[in-house]
């Protein structure tokens, strides 16, 4: 095993205030069961799961309650034992509507035994392991929520030689992955080995930013005397080193082609939390029913890293963290750079909720956008080498063709441009809108093309 600094320098990047000190030394606390859990059927990228229970049904913890409905979809399980109180459509933290199963816990927290633990995974066929991961409903826990069994079964033409376990956690405020690495390093390491076995990848890279030396040494200790195919790669503390494509470049020097996926360059990236969940699914036979989330922010009485059940309402989490002192002006699901602002505390924890951030009024500023002064700071900050200043003006003028020619679709929406802009232009917001419009246009053209071919 080797530990070293990342060799490749990514383009752009910013250094926001990190505020990790609020929770970095707070050990993971297990939150008691809330009175009601609201479990979304859409917690992942892809097709929503389909609820398979009805009102009044009894469930056990880990029991399947939502079936995967497509190739890119994921199963959803009961986070505890109890009774299904209701199934109705509600709005998620992401603002989309989905079927939601409301479960009243019975307090027994009794596990189902539907999944069999696989203790000797090293000598188990990869297909069996993949099935176990799919059956456990594991999705990426870093943010996007891409179903893990899909990520771990690339087509045969795409051999994977390297897996990266992402412990960068570059979003300010968040410390959930950091605490996992400190408290569960051995399990994360086992998860990493399971992933590498499934993919037949010879190289394992653990990616951690250099502001987390304790996590680096914890992982070093857990990995112990592994051979030289395992590297801990220390990334500079700079946002967005946790972004998949940027991280792959920093570690391997490979650029995921525009519009492509990490597997196109022989790499698969999984978050540390995902590695842990995969290990839990394989070794313990536990479906994904809980996750660690950082509940933080200056107005919060006791910021904490909380192990909470999927479906726990934000309001209960905030209560568990001592409530809010004074006035909260903004509630964010996730971190301040890419998180989603919430209109209420009604949303619940999903497999991808890395944090709940409460911002005070003084941190919430309203800006009037000025014309671009061509300072070039957005160009300097963009990790994808776009020119957000020009793109925003094209999009302001609704010139989607020009924006498309200038690679708007390559934007990763990290927000570095808007963070830097002295004219307070909503740069990344323009890009998001532009990407949606360009995608719609591409679909429209495809449909037209298909129509012509039919004739």
């Amino acid at each position: 095993m080797k530990t070293y600094k990342a060799q490749y320098k990514i383009a752009g990047g910013v250094h926001p205030e990190y505020h990790k000190e609020l929770t970095r030394d707070k050990g993971i606390e297990i939150m008691p069961l809330p009175p009601l859990l609201h479990v979304y059927m859409s917690q992942h990228l892809g097709a929503h799961a389909k609820p398979i229970l009805k009102k009044g049904d009894k469930v056990l913890r880990g029991q399947l309650i939502g079936e995967s409905t497509g190739f890119v979809s994921a199963a959803v399980h009961a986070p505890t034992s109890g009774t299904v109180k209701n199934i109705e459509e509600t709005r998620t933290a992401a603002g989309t509507f989905t079927q939601t199963v409301e479960i009243e816990p019975d307090g027994q927290d009794q596990w189902t035994s539907s999944l069999t633990p696989i203790s000797n995974w090293e000598s188990t066929d990869s297909k069996v392991l993949l099935n176990a991961i799919a059956a456990a409903g594991i999705t990426g826990m870093g943010g996007a929520g891409f179903p893990s069994h899909v990520k771990l079964s690339p087509p045969s033409g795409k051999p994977i030689d390297t897996i990266i376990i992402n412990g960068a956690e570059c979003e300010p405020f968040l410390t959930a992955d950091y605490r996992l690495m400190l408290e569960h390093a051995a399990e994360i390491w086992e998860g990493a080995r399971i992933i590498s076995k499934i993919l037949g990848a010879k190289n394992i890279r653990i990616a951690i930013e250099d502001n987390k030396p304790e996590a680096i040494s914890a992982m070093e200790k857990a990995i112990g005397t592994a051979d030289d195919s395992v590297h801990i790669v220390i990334l500079p503390t700079e946002y967005p080193h946790g972004a998949e494509k940027q991280q792959i470049f920093a570690i391997t020097g490979r650029q995921v082609p525009s519009g492509g996926l990490p597997m196109d360059v022989g790499v698969v990236v999984q978050n540390v939390g995902t590695a842990l969940a995969i290990r839990d699914a394989v070794v313990n036979g536990h479906p994904l029913t809980e996750r660690v989330t950082t509940v933080t922010g200056l107005p919060l009485a006791q910021p904490k890293n909380v192990m909470a059940r999927i479906g726990t309402p934000y309001s209960d989490l905030i209560k568990f963290c001592g409530g809010i002192n004074g006035v909260a002006a903004k509630i964010i699901s996730g971190g301040p750079m890419m998180g989603l602002a919430q209109s209420s505390l009604d949303a619940t924890i999903t497999k991808t909720t890395s944090g709940i951030l409460v911002l005070p009024a003084k941190a919430v500023t309203f800006y009037e956008a000025m014309p671009c002064i061509s300072c070039g700071r957005c160009v300097e900050a963009c990790p994808v080498n776009l020119m957000p200043c020009d793109l925003s003006q094209m999009l302001e003028a609704e010139d989607y063709e020009a924006a498309r020619d200038c690679n708007v679709m390559d934007c990763v929406e990290c927000g570095c441009c808007a963070y830097e802009c002295p004219a307070h232009r909503p740069l990344v917001q323009y890009m998001r809108q532009g990407k949606a419009r360009v995608s719609a246009k591409i679909l429209e053209e495809k449909a037209k093309q298909a129509g012509k071919e039919k004739k």
């Binding site: 470049f249 995921v256 525009s258 014309p371 160009v379 808007a418």
Partner: protein, 331 residues
Amino acid sequence: MSEETNNSQQYVVSSSPHTHSGASVRNIMLDVIIATIPAMLMSFWFFGFNAFRLIAVCVISCVIIEALCRKAMGRNVGITDLSAVVTGILLAFNLPPGLPSWMAVVGSFFAIVIAKQLFGGIGYNPFNPALIGRVVLLISFTGPMTTWSSWQAGPDMITTATPLGIVKMAFAAGQKVPFCFDSIMIKRFFIGDINGCIGEVSTAALLAGGIYLLMRRCISWHVPVFYAGTVAVFSGILWKINPALNMPPSFHILAGGLVLGAIFMATDMVTTPVTKKGLIIFGIGCGILTMIIRKWGGYPEGVSFAILLMNAVTPLINKATRPRVFGAKKS
């Protein structure tokens, strides 16, 4: 979710990011103003009340004209961004000490109305407003704009030429190098004990401002370094070929408005490229044009024209230096 959940609290909902670097246009302008202070103090020292008069007239007229113009155009009065103050100071820096105040006001009018507001105001102007103001005055009032009252002359106010003017006239008359540019001269030039526009003479003070701007990330080093570097190389080659009919590089860098131009004018964000590569091209272009004008042009000094000409090609430079997008095929 159920309606009875507590909705008494209103939260702000907006698209991420939910944090900002804190940078603002106003703060950038404020930094530029702060960076001009050393050169301003030196101008008071060397040119006395005339320097104060010109700076005050230009700043006040620029701000008032900007406010009136925005009002007349039915736009919100945007003077709080302080950009008109910066234009005023930089215009004044580019004027000779004896220029009548009313001419300075004419310069302000052209800088603010013609060069800036008619194009849409801050951010939309293709040319550096202060330089447009200066060039309009130079062409319209060539006499007063090239009359230099030597500050050393005291009350008699003898008019003499700038070092660049002396050199130009000497070479034009077929004479050889008019004065020896030795270390004592270099020291005088560096401090600013020479004739020239009020803000351009003291290289030392301008450098101090430049270092501040670099530290505050208001300018990048590319333009000043490549601009001065190109001038040094260009003049160095000429000097090596024929030292009798050319001045050494140190003279070309210290004389005239080069340092003022390279640090404060050719680094104006709005009118210069946004990419680092583009800034390098911009700096080299300014250097070449400045030397061509100084050596072969009609005017002794070419900094203003060089920068304005490069302003004109800035959109092209931006287009040509667009960085290769991450993951895009190498072309």
